[in-house]
């Protein structure tokens, strides 16, 4: 048996975000049109491992995924030990634009899932000229809290175990066991209070219901892909966004859940590849 390397290259980048120094972990694979990948709440860029390993994508795309500060191999900023982490729309947007500038990504396609799908809607509304196309996975305009978020960060409940247990049912029923449990492992590895802090954006600060209809898809195409089994951002919520944004294209993915790119890459790519082809055609008129 011989060892095998994946084509993914990871590096640490130092940059200033919101007036503080950050050490951010960035992975890349492939060459071509930049494809910037945004992970879900409480997880990290490993969710895009399959995209970075698929030649059908990497032949034409420079796939980039970063771990948000506090997530994965990115550190929280110095002083974190006395702070409560809370993600806001403004910070999230700034982070994405700053990292794009630092990596010299020229009008990337952005693909984001869950909180990444939500911020994708914010980007479509506020910065359409910066992107070639926007792909929102499990993207809805708002999600009401449906459990007591304080359980995610208290000493008498294991944060990693509870985070994974909360999201485990969001994985679709057809996910291969290996990918299902890899996806949940990322949740089990999250730092204390980080998933909860992301959900501040997802369930409170990032509510975009009153503005989503103003997205202009003539300035930047918007594609929405949502898994049938997601009860966090339900198909109905995604279809609601699609209905209010003329020109957007929504597809409900059968048998998939809240983490399509990570839980069941083979099935997900059947939906993603045609979208990337279409974006490629629009880009070369």
């Amino acid at each position: 048996m011989s060892a095998r390397f994946e084509p993914i290259i990871g590096r640490y980048m130092h940059l200033d975000l919101f007036g503080r120094q950050h050490r951010v972990y960035v992975e890349q694979a492939g060459e071509g049109t930049p494809l910037l990948c945004l992970h879900t709440a409480g997880a990290d860029g490993r969710q895009y491992r399959a995209l970075m390993n698929d030649e059908r994508i990497t032949q034409r795309h420079r796939v980039v995924a970063f771990d948000m500060p506090w997530h994965g191999k990115s550190s929280p900023p110095a002083g974190w030990h006395n702070e409560e982490y809370r993600l806001t729309s403004a910070q999230y947007t700034t982070m994405i634009l700053e990292i794009m500038a630092a990596l010299e990504l020229d009008r990337p396609i952005v693909i984001g899932c869950s909180i990444g799908g939500r911020i994708a809607l914010h980007l479509a509304l506020e910065h359409p000229e910066r992107f070639r196309a926007i792909i929102g996975l499990q993207a809805g305009a708002h999600v009401d809290p449906y459990y007591d978020l304080d359980f995610l960060h208290r000493a008498d409940v294991h944060g990693g175990e509870v985070a994974a247990a909360i999201v485990s049912g969001l994985v679709g029923p057809d996910a291969p066991d290996s990918e299902r449990w890899e996806t949940l492992w990322h949740y089990m590895q999250g730092g204390p209070g980080v998933f909860k802090g992301d959900l501040y954006f997802y369930k409170l600060d990032g509510d975009i219901r009153d503005r989503v209809a103003r997205i202009d898809t003539r300035r930047c195409p918007l594609f929405l892909l949502s898994g049938e089994y997601d009860y966090s951002c339900t198909p109905e919520e995604t279809l609601g966004v699609a209905k209010s944004v003329p020109g957007s294209e929504a597809t409900i993915m059968k048998g998939l859940g809240h983490f399509p790119m990570s839980e069941n890459p083979a099935e997900f790519l059947k939906y993603l590849l045609p979208v990337l082809e279409k974006i490629g055609r629009q880009d070369r008129p």
Partner: protein
């Protein structure tokens, strides 16, 4: 069917191991029928059918019978495939000291999913 919970849970060595620090009694309500389920160090030791006069439990899970039937079907439809999905739709009420429930959420999800119809049973009924 709920009476079979002890053998279904206790027969799963990994599930029992994950529950080894869990000792509690909880109330499961399936429509009008109540069940008191006692767990000792990860093993389900008793399942008692109500009605009860003064049941003592750490927490209760209450949902209409048709919702549990969907949850326990072989391939539950979207929205019925997980306890949190039922809670999101506001059809499952979780009440009481939920620290026990949340600290052992994976255990309770997997233990209750043990009541899901198995392929063999489906075949026998067909």
């Amino acid at each position: 069917m709920i009476e079979t919970l002890p053998q279904r849970v206790n027969g799963d060595e990994a599930l029992v191991r994950r529950g080894r620090y869990l000792t509690t009694t909880f109330l499961l309500e399936v429509g009008p029928t109540a069940w008191l389920i006692s767990i000792f160090e990860g093993r389900v030791v008793t399942v008692v059918r109500g009605p009860f006069v003064m049941p003592s439990s750490s927490f209760a899970l209450r949902a209409p019978e048709e919702e549990w039937q969907k949850f326990w079907s072989k391939r539950p439809p979207p929205g019925s495939n997980d306890l949190m999905a039922l809670i999101k739709r506001r059809v499952l009420k979780a009440e009481g000291d939920l620290q026990v429930f949340m600290a052992n959420l994976r255990y309770f999800k997997e233990a209750l999913a043990k009541l899901r119809a198995e392929e063999a049973e489906q075949g026998a009924r067909a």
